[in-house]
């Protein structure tokens, strides 16, 4: 048992050290790894704010009731730089959010993976290779 636990710990350590430091804050402090959620909803509002953008969606339950959720993204600056605008995610757009719910149980989730209903990723139309700084993001 002790050996097994040690192996698991070492394995986890390797995985964790392979993950670079990310995002403006610790998402693991805000969202619960034990509460994965998959939400299919309609965009009601997009907050293009820093440090992180928030997408508001209405999710219809099987019983016909509607629940509002807030989904956390990243800095809008990156998207502005790629030519996206506040009109790029129109109200009424249907999206699928695969993420984790807030630890306090409120209807907030991180948009770990956001797609359109046909599986295409959001904002993919403006990939980094199309960016005005293409080829200038590193060195010659």
């Amino acid at each position: 048992m002790r050996t097994k636990l040690a192996v698991v710990m070492v394995g986890l350590g390797l995985v964790l050290t392979a993950v670079p430091v990310r995002a403006h804050h610790a998402f693991a402090a805000e969202f619960d790894a034990k509460k994965p959620v998959k939400l299919r909803g309609t965009v009601t509002k997009m907050e293009w704010i820093n440090p992180h953008a928030w997408i508001h969606i209405d999710v219809k339950g099987a019983d016909g009731t509607t629940t509002s959720w807030m989904v956390e993204g990243g800095t809008p600056n990156t998207l502005f730089r790629r030519g996206l605008t506040k009109d790029s995610l129109a109200v009424g757009t249907e999206i699928v959010v695969d993420g984790y719910q807030a630890k306090d149980g409120s209807n907030r989730a991180n948009g770990r993976d956001i797609t359109f209903t046909d599986g295409r990723k959001l904002f993919l139309g403006a990939s980094s290779s199309d960016a005005p700084y293409a080829g200038k993001d590193g060195e010659k």
Binding site: L12, V15, L16, A18, V19, P20, V21, R22, A23, H24, H25, A26, F27, A28, A29, E30, F31, D32, A33, K34, E47, I49, N50, P51, H52, W54, M70, E72, G73, G74, T75, N77, T78, L79, F80, R81, R82, Y100, A102, K103, D104, G105, S106, R108, N110, R112, D113, I114, K121, L122, F123, L124, S128, P132, Y133, K136, D137, G138, E139, K140
Partner: protein
């Protein structure tokens, strides 16, 4: 072309490629501002995947070959891709969001050096002095179990106060790696996109402010040495703790425009009470067509309340479990 000329050209090229970029600048003269300063103005990005410190698997290897560089860029690009979903949930939640929000660059620096640190030769931040190490251990011990007591106990980044890479010194991060330099008679101003600080650097030779004054970004004074802007910064606070530095940090930055589209930026960290020796890093800054956007971090920082609420929920769950087991 005569073969001898070819050999000469070739060997000159080889010699030049081996030289640090700063040493090559003597052949290129930057334009001047109307008041006669070498012109550093414009918007610049320092995005690169070259890490500050040399990774352990590249120990002893200061430079990559072109082929190794391509392989490294591919490997790191895959490791950095936030769209992968192959990690356990505890790590996956930490990847935060889709890759399209990130903007960390895809290439290593042009010198193909394996770390931004060029001195010491091992590419590592030097060890802390025993006293500094002791202090750091004590701070960490005191913070243990209190990381979410209140907003003051969270990281400076999460409080939207200061970013460890926004500087000074300025280092690449995973997004917002953009800088605008504006020069006016007697001053150079550096606007940093990350956390949106503007650093106003006087060039008139005035002394630093009193040692009693400590500031988040220190107190910067600039001067020209030929075509290089040298910025000397002191009066830091002990709260920033850049890589373990304390309030005695003395930072010297060199900005040299080496061609139309590149500023070679070098900084030297000197802090004898914190580090066992001084250290120097070099970061190329490339001209970018993009403007610097506002990063009004505090304005929409819902995450602070979210993290504290998360900590309270964790505490309640732990208390409930304890009560339930009695």
């Amino acid at each position: 072309m005569h073969w001898r000329s070819r050999v000469l050209l070739l060997s000159t090229a080889v010699v030049l490629m081996g030289l640090p970029a700063a040493a090559q600048t003597k052949t290129w003269t930057p334009p001047k501002t109307p008041d006669g300063q070498p012109d550093l103005q414009g918007t610049w990005t320092n995005a690169t995947i070259t890490p500050l410190e040399r990774p352990a698997d590249l120990a002893g290897k200061e430079f990559l070959t072109a082929q190794e560089a391509a392989e490294y860029e591919k490997r790191i690009g895959e490791a950095n891709n936030a769209d992968r979903r192959n990690l356990p949930p505890e790590a996956d939640v930490g990847l935060a969001y889709n890759d399209f929000w990130y903007n960390r660059g895809t290439k290593i620096v042009g010198t193909r050096r394996t770390s931004l640190i060029l001195d010491p030769k091992d590419g590592k931040v030097p060890a802390l002095t025993p006293a500094a190490q002791q202090k750091q251990d004590a701070l960490r011990a005191a913070a243990r179990g209190h990381a979410s007591d209140g907003p003051e106990s969270r990281a400076l980044t999460e409080r939207c106060l200061l970013w460890p890479t926004a500087g000074p010194p300025m280092l690449p991060s995973f997004y917002n790696n953009n800088y605008q330099i504006v020069q006016s008679p007697g001053y150079v101003t550096i606007l940093v996109e990350m956390i949106h600080d503007a650093r106003v650097v006087p060039l008139d030779g005035r002394p630093h402010v009193s040692g009693k004054v400590q500031q988040w970004m220190g107190d910067s004074r600039g001067r020209w040495e030929g075509n290089t802007l040298v910025v000397d910064t002191t009066n830091f606070t002990d709260k920033t703790r850049f890589r373990g530095a304390d309030e005695k940090l003395h930072l010297v930055e060199h900005f040299t425009r080496v061609d139309t589209d590149t500023i070679m930026y070098e900084f030297t960290v000197d802090d004898p009470t914190a580090f066992t020796r001084s250290w120097t890093a070099q970061v190329p800054m490339r001209r970018t067509a993009s403007p610097v956007y506002e990063y009004a971090c505090h304005e929409g920082n819902y995450a602070m309340a979210g993290m504290l609420a998360g900590a309270r929920a964790d505490e309640k769950a732990a208390a409930d479990a304890k009560n339930g087991s009695k």
